[in-house]
Every structure is written in C-alpha cells, then in structure tokens.
C-alpha cells in the first residue's frame, strides 16, 4: 500500500512537469515493472547496507585501534638496538679468506641498551618544531609476583609529569592516580589485565623481580586501561628512579625516548631524520605496528571483496530488468528514434532507469545500514580482542557514507551502461519491419 502511494505521488508529480520526456519515459518504464524494479532496488539496498555495516565495523574497529595506539604509545620511539649479528671476532683479525674459521655459540656483546647523552637528545628534541612532547623512558622485562602467582611484564620507568603530558596516562586510569607514583616511594601502576591476572587490587603489594635478580616490593597505586589488550596485560608503570634501582644503573640511564608529534603523518619522515641525527634506532608508530596494519590490509581486502561481489550480483539484477524493459519497449525505442530522438537520448533513458534504481536503492541502503549500526552499536558486548571495547565502534563519518553512495552509483551506472548502449544501437527499421 505504501509503495502504491509513493508511486501515485510520483505519477502526479510527473504529470505536472512533462518538460523532459526522456526522464518521464524512464520513470514510466520502471513503474510499469514495479515488482522487478523493487527487487533490483532491494539488491542495491542490501549491498549498500552490508557495505555500511561490514566496512563500517571493520574500519571503525581499525580507527579505534589506531586512535588508541596514537594516544597511548609513542609516535616515534628512539632506542638502542643491540647488535645481534656481529661478525666473528676472529674473522675481523684474520683477513685470510682461504681458511675456515669457526666460532660457536657467539653471544651478543655485553652492551647495555643505554642511550648515551639521552637527556641532551631530549633537550634537542623538545626544541624541534615538529615535536609536541618528549618523554624519557626506561623499559625492562621483569617478573611480577603476588604470592605464588607470577607473570612476566614490561616495566615502564617513567617521568610521571612528562609521561602524563605526552601520553595522557591519567585519562586511562580506572583506579588510583598517576601522581601517587611521585608521592608513594614504591608505587606501581598495573595494566588492568595484568592486575587481574595477578589477582591484585589497589593498595595490594606485588614483588617485581628484574632479570638481574634484584627484587623490589611495590604497592599498587593505580590500575590503568588503554583498551589495547596486549598492553593492558603486560605493562606496569613505576617511577624512573625505581626502575634505575631495579636495574642497578646510573642516574642518566634511559633505554627509550618516546616522542609525540604535532602531526602524526610526519612520523615516518621524522623518524628517519632522528635516526640519522642521533645515531640510534628511531621507529615510527606505523612501523612499530606494521604486523597489525598488515592484518588490517587483508581484512579490508576481504571486506571489500565481499561487498563488491554483492554489488556485482545486484548489478546483474539491474542489468536483467533493463534488458527486459528494452525488449518489451522496442516499439517505443523505434518511434522515439523515428521522430528525432538521438541515440544519446535513448541511452539516457536507460541510464536514468539504472541510476534511479541505484539512487533509491543506495539511499535506502545507507538508511538501513545506519539504523543497523546504531542498533548493533547500542548492544553492550564487552569485547576483548586485540582492542577491548564495551560497544562495537562503527565508522560513521559522512565521508564513509558518501563513498558508499558513490560506490552504489558507479556499480549501477556500470550495470546500466551496457543495456543502455544496446538500446541505443537498435535499428528502428528492423524493429518496425519485424512487427
């Protein structure tokens, strides 16, 4: 009934303005085949709905991950990479290559990961125009133990004020306060997952055992949650001073310098610049997460492949209905050509038909896709994948919707082009004679 009503309305609207016969002829053809037109439109609607839902889910998830990564990790991270593949010492002495030299079980040089002149480098970086903030960092592997439960973790020795300024750590605190790392001498802030695994709560004690055997008893002064599951399950913040005690190292010892940039898109280029300038390895956030971006690429490929297949199928629907209309309306084509309508006018009629299906199908697809994402997005799911989130995040940017809509238009225009061209090529004499 509803459909009938809209069609009647459009008939009235068209009766009033019969200025462009090509347009009205196209719409009349479609209305003469309401059911088939509706099914073809439904195909496009379905394709675009899946587009909005699935691609929206995937890109929404990826954007969340990237945003959380950018907010909570360094845009560029400078560190000292130990030289693991040294050439054999003997080989460097023995220049004669005609003899075999074998050195078994050669270990990396006992060289600390220390960045020399780290604080001078930080001072220089802070003056760099592209840098928004720099935070010194002392990282190490350690075992955290609470009673008999023990877990490996990454200890992050930080300068509380700088770290908070650069990475907004306090925004991600679920319990406690980052400032307590300064006031409580042996404070530690645990990632949510790590605290859960250890079974500790606020103000409980944990032992931190460094790789060199040093043990510190620390008190939990905060729990933090970035949403990046891997990080939350392994990271523990302590003050940089305590980290130096743990590692038994000097007062200028740093393993990493974490840099926040004003423009994250400059990361790659600036990383190269810093690497050259300071002689230490500088890694930008894209490279640091390259394995995940690789996964994203495959995800996107699969997603778009599915969407393209659906749209191809709906394209065939449009192709079919146009071919049906064309063969049924051959006399119309013949007479229009005889009375002076050009090939391009005939082509236009059928292009309008396919685009009308594409536009109406596309718009309803956008609407249903939007409603579906709103509905699914309102169900609390508490997902803990490699990003943990309470609700599914969908990409809802207007650009994404516009892209989906143009995708529908291009698909339908392609599906309509070939029948339209065929219709334009019919010889009116053949049609008239065959009657």
């Amino acid at each position: 009934m509803e459909l009938e009503k809209t069609i009647n309305w459009s008939n009235d609207a068209l009766r009033m303005r019969f200025k462009n016969p090509v347009f009205k002829i196209a719409i009349t053809h479609l209305l003469a085949k309401k059911r088939q037109t509706f099914v073809a439109m439904l195909g496009v609607t379905f394709g675009i709905m899946v587009f909005i839902f699935q691609a929206g889910l995937i890109t929404g998830f990826q954007d969340t991950f990237i945003e959380q990564t950018i907010n909570t990790t360094a845009n560029i991270h400078i560190y000292n990479e130990p030289d693991r593949n040294r050439p054999s010492i003997l080989a460097s002495i023995e220049a004669d290559t005609t003899r075999w030299i074998t050195v078994r079980n050669q270990k990396p040089k006992d060289e600390k990961n220390k960045i020399r002149n780290a604080y001078q480098i930080i001072a220089l970086l802070e003056q760099h125009p592209g840098v928004a903030g720099v935070s010194p960092f002392l990282g190490t592997q350690a075992i955290l133990r609470s009673g008999i439960v023990q877990y490996g973790g990454r200890i992050a020795g930080i300068d509380v004020d700088k770290e908070d300024l650069v990475f907004h750590v306090s925004d991600y605190m679920t319990q406690g306060d980052i400032q307590r790392l300064k006031t409580i001498n042996n404070g530690i802030i645990l990632g949510e997952g790590l605290a859960e695994n250890l079974g500790v709560k606020m103000n409980d004690n944990v032992s931190v055992i460094a790789t060199n055997g040093t043990t510190l008893d620390m008190k939990v002064v905060g729990i933090n949650r970035t949403g990046l599951t891997e990080v939350d399950r392994s990271r523990a913040y302590i003050s940089i001073r305590n980290a130096r005690v743990l590692l038994n190292v000097d007062n200028a010892y740093l393993t990493d310098i974490n840099i926040k940039l004003k423009d994250i898109n400059e990361a790659e280029q600036l990383a190269m610049e810093f690497e050259k300038r300071f002689g230490y390895k500088a890694e930008d956030w894209k490279k640091a997460n390259s394995n995940i971006f690789g996964v994203f690429k495959i995800q996107n490929m699969v997603t778009y492949l599915i969407i393209v297949s659906i749209l191809i199928v709906s394209g065939f629907g449009i192709f079919n209905i146009l071919m049906m209309i064309i063969y049924e309306k051959l006399p119309d084509i013949a007479i229009l050509k005889a009375i002076g309508y050009k090939n391009k006018d005939i082509k236009m009629i059928f292009m309008i038909e396919s685009l009308a299906i594409g536009i109406t199908g596309g718009l309803t697809g956008l609407l249903f896709g939007f409603l579906l994402t709103k509905f699914i997005g309102s169900i609390p799911l508490n997902i803990k994948g490699f990003v943990s989130m309470k609700y599914l995040e969908f990409n809802s940017s207007p650009a994404f919707y516009i892209f989906a809509f143009f995708f529908a238009l291009i698909a339908t225009a392609l599906a309509g082009y070939f029948p339209a061209r065929k219709a334009a090529k019919f010889d009116p004499v053949d049609i008239i004679r065959s009657k």
Partner: protein, 226 residues
C-alpha cells in the same frame, strides 16, 4: 515552375543478409511541395525500403537524396535525427504511440525534443493539432485507451506538431478496417488541401492509391513506368 522538396538520383540498395539481394534499382524520382504521392507495389517490391531510405531511417544505400536542398547522404546520424525531428512526420502501420502516456503527451513528444517552444506553447499547439483531427476531448486519456482509428489519428497529430516539410506514411491505413481506412485517408487529403502539406504514403491498396495526386509503382525494386 516546379518546387521540388525531395529528389533522388539513382538510388540503389542491397541487402547482404541472408543472401545478396538488390532491393532498390536505380530509383530516381521527385516529389513536389504540396503533392500527395503514393508508392505502390506488391509485398517485396521494395516500397517500404524506399520509404525508410527517403526518410533517413535507413542510410545504407548508394545514390543521392536531396531533401529540402540538402544532400542527405553526407550528413551525420545526429543531424539526420534532427532533420527527422524538425522536417519529417511519420505515420506507421502500427500507430506506435507510447501506451502509458496521455494523448497530449504523445503528440507533444517531437516538439519537446525540438525545444523551440515553451512547455505551455507546445501544449496549446498539440491541442490545436488534436482538434484539427477531432480528438481534442481525448487529450488527457492514456493512448492505449483509444480505438485503433483514434490512435492512428493521434499519430497523425504527432506527425504534424513540428509543421514538417513532408509526412511519410508506411501503410498508415493497413491495420484499420475499410471505414476507418477511408476516414484516415480523407484526413490526409484534408491536410493536403488545407495546410498544403506534402504527403508520401506507401500502400498496397489500389483504391486509396488511386485517390492520390500521383502513384509511383515499384516492381522488384524498380520504378514501373505507368
């Protein structure tokens, strides 16, 4: 002094498919302004082929056609469409109206394509042509609601709307009973007398052909001398 609207010089046309077959052989003819000409011939004589060639619908021929001072054999398909739109009216055996459109819309179609007048002007011209053919009260009806004779008269109104230099009829009465045939034929004669309209129809009805100014007889693609 003669005032020729359409002239052909040695028209030849072959069909290559399924077998080589010469449909028109050295057809040379003239049609004068204001003349009512009929083309007669048995089926397969090439009379319809001749009509399509003369009216630019079929361009696969050799020879020359001069229409209204213009050599039709050297112009582009788009220009041919424009000539059909502006200077040629068509009436076919099967009326070929757009069935879902009103009578008024059907009649307006060539004028809307021409675009010389506003929409309102076209509507009043279309109504004028319809009343000329006694169809003014059918204007808002859907074309497929009319009888065969009425539909053919609508087709004639449509052919007239751009005030063409010539109207071509391809067996325009072939699908009508004898009474309606005579009515439609009388209309053509009226148009000729009152509007000085040039008309060229193909027919195999010797009785109707006899009532035209001149009959061109075709046999096996050749004009038969009377």
């Amino acid at each position: 002094m003669k005032n020729t609207i359409l002239e052909t010089i040695s028209l030849n046309k072959w069909y290559r498919d399924p077998v080589d077959f010469q449909a028109l052989k050295n057809v040379t003819l003239q049609i004068e302004r204001g003349e009512f000409v009929s083309i007669m011939g048995s089926s397969g004589s090439g009379k319809s082929t001749l009509l399509y060639v003369l009216s630019t619908l079929d361009t696969d021929y050799t020879g020359k056609i001069i229409f209204d001072g213009q050599d039709l054999s050297v112009i582009s398909p788009n220009r041919q469409a424009e000539i059909r739109n502006e200077k040629i009216g068509f009436v076919f055996q099967f009326h070929y109206l757009l069935p879902e459109f009103t009578v008024l819309e059907n009649v307006s179609l060539p004028a809307l394509k021409l675009g010389k007048f506003t929409h309102d002007q076209i509507e009043s011209i279309a109504l004028e042509k319809l009343s000329l053919l006694g169809l003014q009260d059918q204007a808002m009806k859907k074309a497929n609601k009319l009888s065969g004779g009425q539909q053919q008269r609508v087709a004639i109104a449509r052919a007239l709307i751009n005030n063409p230099s010539i109207i071509f009829g391809d067996e325009p009465t072939g699908n009508l009973d004898s009474k309606n045939s005579q009515n439609v034929f009388d209309l053509f004669k009226e148009l000729q007398h009152e509007l000085k309209q040039t008309i060229c129809i193909v027919t195999h009805d010797i009785n109707l052909a006899g009532q035209t100014d001149r009959t061109i007889s075709l046999h096996d693609g050749e004009i038969v001398k009377p």
